[in-house]
């Protein structure tokens, strides 16, 4: 992941944090996305080389998978990433996750919400198939409302067609 991508990720996740989702998954102490949330980047959560850190999950494993235009099928690359995500979640049972589905801007608002839900569900089903308990996972779709990349070319659209696994500690966790 190059610097520009990380910067874009930080901007996007901070953007999500700013939109104030008062659900139990979205307002934990670590903040959405773990290290990049309001908890502070890497201060008390371990770095990307600490296999127990949220940063390891979101950056070393990778917290997002991408999709083709108007599709919700998981590519081999996506399955590889999700397999590692599932393994991490199985070995870190105090974490829960919301899987966010997103679409690029080339679609209408309602349809993109439904399409994002399909993508989030595809990722969720794969994680469950790899042994993650379904009650630790939830999905949400942002449709085209929260793009990562803001240009209007296929290069950006490809980054925006994604499912992001946003982990947070369960209530008692620390």
């Amino acid at each position: 992941m190059n610097f520009a991508t990380k910067a874009a990720l930080a901007v996007a996740i901070l953007g999500l944090a700013a939109c104030s989702n008062p659900d139990k998954y979205g307002s934990g102490a670590t903040g959405p996305g773990g290290t990049l949330g309001p908890g502070g980047a890497g201060i008390n959560q371990g770095g990307i080389n600490d296999p127990n850190s949220p940063a390891y999950f979101s950056q070393t494993i990778g917290d997002m998978v991408h999709f083709s235009v108007d599709q919700s099928t998981l590519s081999d690359t996506a399955r590889g990433i999700l397999t590692q995500q599932a393994s991490w979640l199985v070995s870190h049972p105090t974490y829960t996750a919301i899987i966010e589905g997103h679409a690029d801007e080339q679609g209408t608002r309602d349809y993109n919400l439904a399409l994002g839900a399909r993508r989030a569900n595809a990722a969720q089903e794969f994680l469950i198939s790899q042994g993650v308990a379904g009650n630790r996972l939830r999905t949400v779709s942002y449709g085209k409302e929260r793009p990562l990349a803001i240009c209007s070319t296929e290069e950006c659209y490809a980054k925006n067609r994604r499912a992001v696994t946003v982990i947070s500690q369960s209530a008692a966790g620390s």
């Binding site: 989702n21 008062p22 209408t108 309602d110 919400l113 839900a117 569900n121 949400v140 779709s141 929260r146």
Partner: protein, 440 residues
């Protein structure tokens, strides 16, 4: 007078729609590229009849002129060209003076402050046939509602000349946008159809999408992320108080619309990745599933009589438009052209469906008959979506978004003839307009 009316009908609908007024042939929608000359009109007045009415008289004149000219069907003749000075409401019209400057329609009006109210009187004249069109009218309202008085005057003039229903005295609920593209802030707002009197209905603390009026204009349904997940909320416009509609945990609900009687909501419900259409009785909260396909069913819209629902589905592999009975069951596909069809909205007249179409990398707003025939695209851009009908079914408002990192959404309107495309003024970027019914 007959010649005058016919001239306007032709100007409005370029022959094909005009045919409807003359016989029972079905609507025939074709793109017409003829340049239509707007009908020249003059406003002699509105004359202030009391000294304290001068300001409101001038403002009201301006709004009436703007309403009529804004349709693209009328053109105001500059006051500097006027020959006759009509100093009082009852001054006899010297038709030859108005014929000389080619004013085809003449409005003579007055404004008085009386008993704490603004009182407007006006008459409409057909200059070339030398007679008044219809009765003179008098309207009164509190001073704070002078704009509505102006819109009502414009509506009477528009309707008398075109034979169409009124639409100026109406409001639009929309999403006011600010902030960067990857962290857009969205607030519900409502304004007059022409962009005046903007009032915000929600704050920017969460994403809100796609507000829709009830047919009586008192309530708005919209989608909010305030729980962290898309949920449907119902808002009372007068008090701005709102409540979430009940949902099933673990699902997303969105794309709501009221039934014509205002008692039910049709909406999309997503569960396990599959989005279907459901109906909810608002009073009881009871729900009924309308579709059971593994495909995406969304953007439902009722026919004006409440008997049918038009919606989009990708059950064929791409997004297309379908119509089914309000009770669910079999659906008939109505869109068959190239590309993807979405966001169908039934015309308040019942005769047409407006939609969004994506084809070859462009977005269009279009209309078709309810059987899918006579499709016509009205607009084309990088991203046009989400049409909403004026109360008389003759104008469509929609969202147009520009591309790129600095891209912004704005509201536009266009006649169903495809003419008079223009931006609707809003305080900042705006999206997802929904037109109210005509105000009471």
């Amino acid at each position: 007078m007959m010649r005058f009316v016919l001239a306007m009908l032709v100007a409005l609908f370029a022959g094909s729609f005009g045919a409807l007024a003359q016989d029972q042939e079905p609507l025939h929608i074709t793109i017409t590229d003829g340049v239509i000359e707007p009908l020249p009109f003059a406003i002699a007045g509105f004359i202030p009849e009391t000294p304290d009415a001068a300001d409101v008289a001038a403002q009201l004149t301006q709004v009436v002129s703007s309403d009529l000219s804004g349709t693209g069907l009328f053109r105001e003749i500059p006051k500097s060209a006027y020959i006759q000075n009509i100093a009082k409401f009852d001054t006899p019209v010297n038709y030859s003076d108005w014929q000389a400057i080619n004013a085809q329609a003449l409005v003579v009006g007055s404004v008085a402050m009386s008993g704490g109210k603004v009182v407007v009187k006006f008459r409409l004249f057909d200059v070339f046939s030398g007679q008044q069109m219809g009765e003179g009218q008098q309207l009164a309202a509190s001073p704070g509602s002078w704009r509505r008085l102006a819109h009502k005057v414009s509506d009477v003039i528009y309707s008398r000349i075109t034979g169409e229903g009124p639409y100026f005295d109406s409001r639009v609920v929309f999403v006011s946008e600010s902030g960067p593209k990857n962290a857009r802030q969205k607030r519900l707002a409502v304004m007059d159809y022409d962009g005046a009197n903007v009032t915000y209905l929600t704050d920017a603390s969460t994403i809100v999408l796609a507000p829709r009026f009830s047919r009586d204009g008192t309530r708005v349904l919209y989608t909010t992320f305030e729980t962290g997940f898309p949920r449907i909320k119902m808002l009372d416009v007068a008090t701005a108080s709102a409540r979430l509609l009940p949902d099933v945990p673990g699902t997303m609900t969105f794309a709501p619309r009221f039934s014509p009687d205002g008692k039910k909501v049709v909406y999309s419900l997503e569960q396990n990745g599959n989005t279907d259409l459901w109906m909810m009785d608002i009073a009881s909260g009871q729900t009924q599933r309308l579709t059971t396909s593994p495909s995406i069913e969304t953007s439902p819209s009722f026919s004006p009589d409440g008997s049918r629902i038009v919606f989009e589905s990708d059950r064929s592999g791409t997004q297309q438009l379908y119509i089914m009975s309000t009770g669910g069951g079999d659906a008939t596909r109505i869109s068959f052209g190239d590309g993807r069809y979405s966001t169908p909205v039934w015309s308040p007249r019942g005769d047409m469906i407006a939609f969004t179409k994506q084809n070859s990398g462009r977005f269009h707003i279009g209309v078709m008959r309810t059987d899918g025939s006579e499709e016509r695209l009205l607009t084309s851009s990088f991203l046009d979506e989400g049409p909403t009908w004026s109360p008389n079914g003759r104008v469509i408002m929609f969202t147009r978004e520009t591309p790129g990192a600095q891209g912004e959404a704005a509201l536009y309107s266009v006649d169903i003839s495809g003419r008079n495309l223009k931006k609707v003024p809003t305080p900042g970027p705006a999206s997802d307009p929904a037109w109210s019914p005509l105000l009471p």
